[in-house]
């Protein structure tokens, strides 16, 4: 699945998003977008709802300047806003989740390990926000390297390096080998 590329916003040739179109978009895509936000927020559900709501409202206000489709625009907004947001201690994902993670030695069933949503979400939350965003867009939203770069406003090389480092750090956090 490719979500397309966020294209340059320009004053000419821009088709405004109609309110009805926006309403349909929110109604139909909120669940999928919330799941992306949930991972971007390291498993903090409340923060994810706040983040998505904020980005959607901003998008509506800027709907006259959106090109290339609402969904890639909103996903880019989520990724960047998540990378830039700051949470209070009570909502912040711990910096050292390994200390709180379950003992890897107790995991014997790979399927059970993968199904542990708290564990993988917490591990994601232990990554730097930008690195986390790269992994979420690449491996949850199935964006290509180029589309991820466009969404995050960085180069493809940065996406590649962040992907490599992110997988390695995630491997460390989950204490399991990751093959890229």
């Amino acid at each position: 699945m490719s979500l397309g590329t966020v294209v340059q916003n320009e004053p000419l040739g821009v088709t405004a998003i109609e309110p009805d179109e926006f309403t349909d978009f929110v109604a139909n895509r909120a669940t999928a977008l919330l799941r992306t936000a949930y991972l971007l927020c390291g498993g903090d559900r409340g923060a994810a709802e706040d983040l998505l709501q904020d980005v959607l409202e901003r998008t509506y206000r800027k709907r006259g300047r959106v090109r290339g489709g609402l969904e890639p625009y909103v996903r880019a907004g989520l990724a960047n806003a998540a990378a830039n947001r700051w949470r209070t201690r009570s909502r912040r994902v711990p910096e050292a989740p390994l200390e709180r993670a379950a003992d890897p030695g107790t995991w014997t069933d790979e399927a059970a390990r993968l199904a542990d949503r708290d564990r993988v979400a917490t591990a994601l939350g232990g990554l730097p926000p930008r690195m986390r965003a790269v992994l979420v867009l690449r491996f949850f939203d199935d964006l290509s390297e180029a589309d991820t770069a466009a969404a995050l406003g960085c180069g493809v090389g940065t996406v590649k390096s962040q992907t490599s480092r992110g997988l390695e750090r995630l491997r460390t956090l989950l204490d399991t080998p990751v093959r890229s």
Partner: protein
């Protein structure tokens, strides 16, 4: 685990994540609502002790008698930045690099979101500054626009093979105004036009619910000031200033903010004013006992800023859920959920006296989204009772094996003798909390 397993794990981790009931309606309501915008008022100087929130009036008090808000501190007018003269910075003599910078700037103009404004540039571009930062080589280009009185176009470039990461159209800055840029991973690096500048990573909230900013001198790189901000920081919390207080704020544009594909005016739009809305995400407000006290709105923001509850340099604040109650002694009890840019959402409970002075206040941290717990459960001082709240829920309390006593909807002050509370609403089964 390979990357396919990772995809599977991420999907499994989110399969039961769904928006709360009414989420779509909340978004659409918020999106359509015209936001109250007011010019940002910078407050600083004297620490004010209390916030006055009573009878719909917002007044200042340092001891019970409403007073005028403290005067804005005098703002020293900085010397205008001069773009004339030789290139500044430690790379000023690297002619090969300067040539690359100018070539990259010229190449960028046709594809810039601001290209309509950049097409009217006059004269030749000039490298105002080129220097080495911990993030690599960077440069700032200036080029005059059609009006000699207006600020020139600016371009910020990064890298050994420089690329333009931000451009500012001619006239984009007011006379003498400085500009800052946040860039790099997480926008954790800051460059400010001009020499002396200070950075503040965020508005730090203390245990008492009041926040402060710490200002740190940026490194003077001969014409530009640089800082690396600590994590977590980034766009929503970081601010720059020409002075170690709030008197000379420097708007900092986030070069990797998702709006970077917007025009410069669009990027700055959130910097121009504050917003303050009542956004009942968490449920309808509760006017306990039919109180006629008004809900908090935009007119309370300045007071909350002065009290250190709201960031004076915040970009937007929202009052979400609120409860108001009249106390038997004539004071007013308020509880509200405050959401502001760059700071986590927090629940406050405060008692305001007749003169508008906050007698007592506590901050409960982030609101609980768990439908099976109370939103607020706070024992009030002086034996006033216990504030309990669950937005929209019907509340009943009892003492021991006594009968259930109806306590209203959304919020209530129950007696300290109460031993249990039941809340119910919607299709969910009633829940009982034992104190």
């Amino acid at each position: 685990m390979d990357t396919e397993d990772l995809t599977t794990a991420l999907r499994a981790a989110t399969e039961d994540v769904r928006p709360r009931p009414g989420f779509t309606d909340d978004v659409l309501r918020g999106a359509h609502r015209a936001r109250t915008r007011r010019r940002r008022t910078l407050a600083g100087g004297t620490a004010v002790l209390v916030v006055a929130l009573t009878a719909g009036a917002v007044a200042w008090s340092t001891g019970g008698r409403p007073e005028q808000a403290p005067a804005r501190p005098p703002v020293a007018t900085p010397a205008p930045i001069s773009f004339d003269g030789p290139t500044r910075g430690d790379l000023a003599g690297d002619q090969a690099y300067l040539a690359k910078v100018l070539a990259a700037w010229r190449q960028k103009i046709p594809t810039s979101p601001n290209r309509d404004l950049l097409s009217a540039l006059t004269g030749e571009p000039h490298v105002y500054w080129a220097g080495t930062t911990p993030e690599g080589r960077m440069a700032l280009v200036d080029q005059p626009g059609p009006s000699p009185a207006a600020s020139p176009a600016l371009g910020l470039l990064h890298g050994d093979e420089p690329i333009v990461i931000q451009d500012v159209p001619p006239g984009g800055l007011a006379r003498g105004e400085r500009i800052g840029f946040l860039f790099g991973i997480g926008n954790l690096n800051a460059l400010a036009l001009g020499g002396t500048a200070y950075s503040s990573p965020r508005f730090d909230i203390g245990a008492d619910g009041r926040g402060t900013r710490t200002w740190t001198p940026m490194t003077d790189l001969d014409g530009m000031a640089f800082a690396t901000l600590p994590e977590p920081s980034g766009t929503s919390g970081a601010r720059l200033s020409g002075s170690p207080d709030l008197s000379q704020p420097i708007d900092a544009v986030a070069t990797f903010e998702y709006s970077h594909n917007s025009t410069f005016a669009g990027q700055r739009s959130h910097l121009y004013g504050i917003t303050a809305d009542l956004r009942p995400y968490d449920g309808p407000p509760a006017l306990v006992g039919g109180t006629t006290e008004p809900l908090l709105g935009a007119d309370a923001v300045d007071s909350l800023r002065q009290a250190g509850i709201i960031d004076p340099l915040g970009y937007g604040e929202d009052f979400r859920w609120q409860a108001v109650a009249d106390l038997p002694d004539g004071r007013v009890l308020r509880s509200f959920v405050l959401q502001q840019s760059g700071v986590g959402t927090r629940v406050y409970v405060m008692i305001v006296d007749r003169a508008g002075v906050v007698d007592w206040m506590t901050c409960l941290g982030a609101p609980s989204l768990d439908q099976e717990t109370l939103f607020v459960d706070q024992v009030l001082p002086g034996g006033l009772g216990r504030l309990v709240a669950r937005p929209g829920a019907r509340l009943r309390h009892r003492t021991g094996a006594g009968p259930w006593v109806e306590a209203g909807v959304g919020a209530a002050i129950v007696p300290m003798t109460a031993t249990a509370l039941e809340f119910s609403g919607g299709s969910a089964a009633p829940r009982v909390i034992v104190f």
